[in-house]
């Protein structure tokens, strides 16, 4: 009896391309001498000698890794491996590692080789599989070697300067300046019992001593920055970079243990190690004096983001970096506007909403912003702010941050209000509670101040939280509105059925996935005592305040990370191919394992929606 006469074997072969396209005789020939093996999770498949042949996964999951261990491909039921060992004696040293216990068919090499000769279609299928893996392999190599990748993942200890220039808190400014000059450094660390308590930079000496005519005999403790930001030596360059961009600082002490300084990283150190970095971009942004040159600088933004994605930086870190850059850009354009139209006649805040506020922008995000005044401006002052905000929004658009299709922009007079005005606006949204109005307004509930004194915005938020807490109907309506869109759980079934038609089989990861989690997190976030704007922070806070089960919160955070990563990868690919960012994902690019993951991710969102409805909308249906 031949293997093909076993009903379960024939059924599987008949439903698995490219084997399903073979004639019965060809199938029988290929299956001659086939073996079925069982490989345990973590096992490295032996692909040598008689095992250097075609393998087909009947059930399970494996990973193909490069000789250096870089991930090339993920495989699941119905996927093949070992092709390179048959065709070319595995020149790249690919390894196959078992991810989940797997049942694997191992074919006879001779039967496979003969069929490659016989059937052009069959051979083409494997040539295609082979070349797509080679492409992925070269990408794995590229990320091994590419300059930004290597440098961002370099440990800080490799590039920091270990020559510590320190002083005591009671040393005078004069003494410190002399030490710094002698050592030719631009900053000095202030220590107390070996621990870092402060930092003084060249700039501090200028602005806090010379500019205000203070005495050179002052102790350092009077002028130093206390408890400066520092970073643990175990971190990577990219962490240092993110921190420095976020805090807009140029000197970062490196510490070990209980705040014991062991080194120093300066912006110059980082720049020397990198051609294109977030920090460099921010530096350049801050140095430009007109929109035209800003625009040129910002043309590197997408390349930078693509590089960050390629380095496998964590998605939340990528979000933080992009937010730091957008914030700097926004601030710089406001400054340029004030250069042109004169200083502001009254204090104001520039607010950002939505993704920039949540710090989860990606390629091609658009702008959502507004202004808040400390008092009602008069006609002339209103004129000034109209001009300034138009300048800012146009400037941002020129620099690649597209205008908002819904016109939620500071250039729209509707979104320039006093603090009381904004408070009233929130009160109306919260108390009116019409689902459609709420859904349109939900973006405003993600809010952050990027220019001006933050205190007013904090007051606004407190006021809003208090109002939400009093109106349980509001959260019920928000929950119902936010759960109207369901995740596309059945998507892959229909993908299998329909395979033509534009966009029909493309997945919008933003609107069908991420936005749904953002919406859920917003409901819980507003229900929390403490306001957070980021989606993951909101979920964490909700779990902490026991509004949400810890497992649901964790699952949703994982789901959010996974979708975000997929979206960034899809965007990067699309951008590299066409120069246009797109949030659409073509599912045919996914392995069946990734599809399985995506399916369970959607199921997690559906569970989250059910939980939210139960918690907030019960009794209001």
């Amino acid at each position: 009896m031949a293997a093909i006469d076993i009903p379960e074997v024939l059924k599987f072969i008949d439903s698995t391309p490219p084997f399903s396209g073979l004639t019965h005789t060809q199938q029988k020939h290929l299956l001659g001498g086939v073996e079925l093996t069982y490989a345990r999770q973590g096992e490295k498949m032996n692909l040598e000698g008689s095992h250097a042949t075609l393998h087909l996964i009947r059930r399970g999951a494996c990973e193909i890794r490069s000789a250096k261990g870089g991930l090339v491909d993920k495989l699941a039921d119905g996927d093949c491996f070992g092709i390179a060992t048959v065709l070319e004696q595995n020149p790249d040293g690919l390894q196959v590692v078992v991810l989940e216990d797997s049942l694997i068919y191992r074919f006879q090499k001779s039967g496979f080789q003969q069929l490659l000769q016989e059937s052009e279609e069959f051979a083409l299928f494997f040539a295609h599989t082979r070349s797509s893996r080679l492409r992925k392999l070269s990408r794995a190599h590229a990320t091994d070697l590419a300059a930004p990748a290597l440098q961002l993942s370099t440990p800080i200890s490799q590039i920091m300067s270990r020559n510590l220039i320190t002083a005591a808190a009671h040393d005078t400014v004069q003494q410190a300046a002399a030490t710094m000059t002698e050592a030719r450094v631009s900053s000095i660390l202030v220590l107390q019992e070996q621990r870092l308590v402060g930092i003084v930079t060249d700039r501090d000496l200028r602005s806090r001593v010379l500019a205000v005519g203070a005495s050179a005999d002052l102790p350092l403790s009077e002028i130093m920055t206390r408890e400066p930001a520092s970073i643990d030596a175990r971190n990577l360059v990219m962490h240092a970079q993110t921190l420095m961009s976020e805090k807009n600082i140029h000197h970062l002490p490196v510490t070990e243990g209980q705040n014991i300084p062991v080194g120093m990283i300066t912006a110059a150190d980082l720049l020397r190690h990198q051609e294109l970095s977030p920090l460099l971009l921010i530096n350049q942004i801050n140095r430009q004096t007109d929109i035209t040159s800003l625009r040129e600088v910002c043309q590197q933004l997408n390349t930078l983001i693509v590089n960050l994605i390629l380095t496998d930086m964590k998605t939340t870190d990528i979000g933080n970096v992009i937010a730091a850059i957008s914030d700097s850009l926004t601030r710089r354009i406001i400054e340029l506007g004030m250069d042109r139209y004169g200083p502001a006649p009254l204090p104001f805040q520039f607010l950002v909403f939505g993704s920039q506020a949540r710090k989860d922008q990606s390629l091609g995000s658009d702008q959502d912003n507004g202004m808040m005044f400390s008092r009602q401006p008069n006609a002339e002052e209103s004129q000034y702010f109209a001009k300034l905000s138009q300048f800012v929004c146009d400037g941002l658009a020129q620099c690649g941050i597209r205008t908002c299709p819904g016109d939620i922009m500071a250039s729209n007079p509707k979104w320039r209000m006093t603090q009381e005005g904004w408070q009233q606006a929130f009160a109306n949204w919260i108390e009116a509670s019409s689902p459609s109005a709420l859904l349109n307004a939900s973006i405003f509930f993600d809010i952050r101040c990027v220019y001006g004194d933050d205190t007013g915005v904090q007051q606004l938020l407190q006021n809003m939280q208090a109002r939400v807490a009093k109106s349980s109907l509001f959260l019920a309506t928000l929950a119902r509105a936010a759960t109207v869109s369901k995740p596309p759980i059945g998507f892959f079934r229909s993908f299998l059925l329909e395979s033509s038609g534009e966009h029909k089989n493309q997945l919008d990861l933003k609107h069908q996935g991420l936005a749904l989690i953002n919406d859920l997190a917003r409901i819980y976030g507003l229900g929390c005592k403490r306001y957070h704007v980021g989606t993951k922070e909101r979920l964490e806070q909700a779990a902490r305040e026991k509004l949400m089960g810890l497992d649901i919160a964790r699952n949703l955070m994982d789901a959010w990370d996974e979708l975000n990563e997929l979206r960034l990868q899809a965007q990067r690919q699309h951008w590299q191919n066409t120069g246009e960012p797109s949030a659409y994902l073509d599912p045919s690019e996914l392995s069946s394992l990734e599809r399985k993951h995506l399916k369970s991710t959607f199921a997690i969102i559906a569970d989250g929606q059910t939980a939210a409805l139960q918690r907030y909308a019960r009794g209001y249906a």
């Binding site: 009896m1 031949a2 293997a3 006469d5 076993i6 009903p7 379960e8 074997v9 299956l31 001659g32 001498g33 086939v34 073996e35 079925l36 093996t37 069982y38 490989a39 345990r40 009947r58 059930r59 399970g60 989940e100 216990d101 049942l103 191992r106």
Partner: protein, 226 residues
């Protein structure tokens, strides 16, 4: 007399040495039978399905599915196994030749079944139907292996949890809708490989497997060998 004792001792020692070799160095005959009922004394074997494990992998080309001709097929069996009298007529083999074939294949192999009392019982009664030379072999019962393993892990398995599909599910093995003798023999073979892969973190010897869930049995015939 002493010579015979020494010969027996040698055979015993040889057998022991063989049994301590790693499991992959043995051949396994994985068998499933379909019967007209559950009592070997009253029911008959309708069909036999088997496949061999050699060099640690299931050799799919060795699969066999044989129908026996003397069985009475009742309606219940037709319902479960979709085998009819005409199948038996067409594909059935004479008992004697089937048994000789079976004995030839089983020689020097380890028998593997799921639920040994039933399968061994039917093998014994098959051996009674014909004059047959005796046959001794080691056997492994995947159900016993599973019960031992779960007991060691202190897991409580509910009713029906040791049936073949339930055991397979615990190892993530695929669900096979068919329940003919061949599919069940395949399913048992895959289960054994999964159990071995999870054997206390090392490659077991045949001896360890037999100790955990198996034994040694001798089939003999009351008829005089011709």
């Amino acid at each position: 007399m002493p010579k015979r004792i020494f010969q027996a001792l040698d055979r015993w020692r040889e057998h022991r040495e063989i049994k301590t070799k790693p499991w992959q160095e043995h051949s396994y005959f994985v068998l499933d039978m379909e019967t007209t009922g559950l009592d070997p004394k009253q029911s008959h074997v309708i069909s036999l399905g088997w496949v061999l494990i050699e060099n640690g992998a299931i050799q799919l080309d060795t699969a066999q599915h044989l129908l026996l001709d003397s069985a009475q097929i009742d309606d219940v069996s037709v319902g479960i196994h979709m085998i009819t009298d005409s199948d038996v007529q067409e594909q059935g083999r004479r008992h004697a030749s089937v048994l000789r074939y079976l004995r030839q294949i089983m020689k020097d192999k380890v028998l593997v079944v799921h639920y040994s009392p039933l399968e061994l019982g039917f093998l014994k009664s098959l051996w009674q139907t014909q004059p047959m030379p005796a046959l001794a072999f080691d056997w492994i019962d995947t159900m016993q292996l599973e019960m031992q393993r779960r007991a060691r892990l202190q897991e409580v398995i509910g009713e029906g949890g040791y049936r073949l599909p339930a055991c397979r599910e615990r190892y993530g093995l695929p669900d096979y809708p068919g329940h003919d003798a061949l599919t069940d023999a395949m399913a048992t073979a895959e289960l054994l490989l999964a159990q071995i892969a999870h054997f206390n973190g090392h490659e077991p010897s045949l001896q360890e497997l037999v100790r955990m869930g198996g034994g040694r049995t001798r089939l003999s015939s009351n008829h005089k060998t011709q």
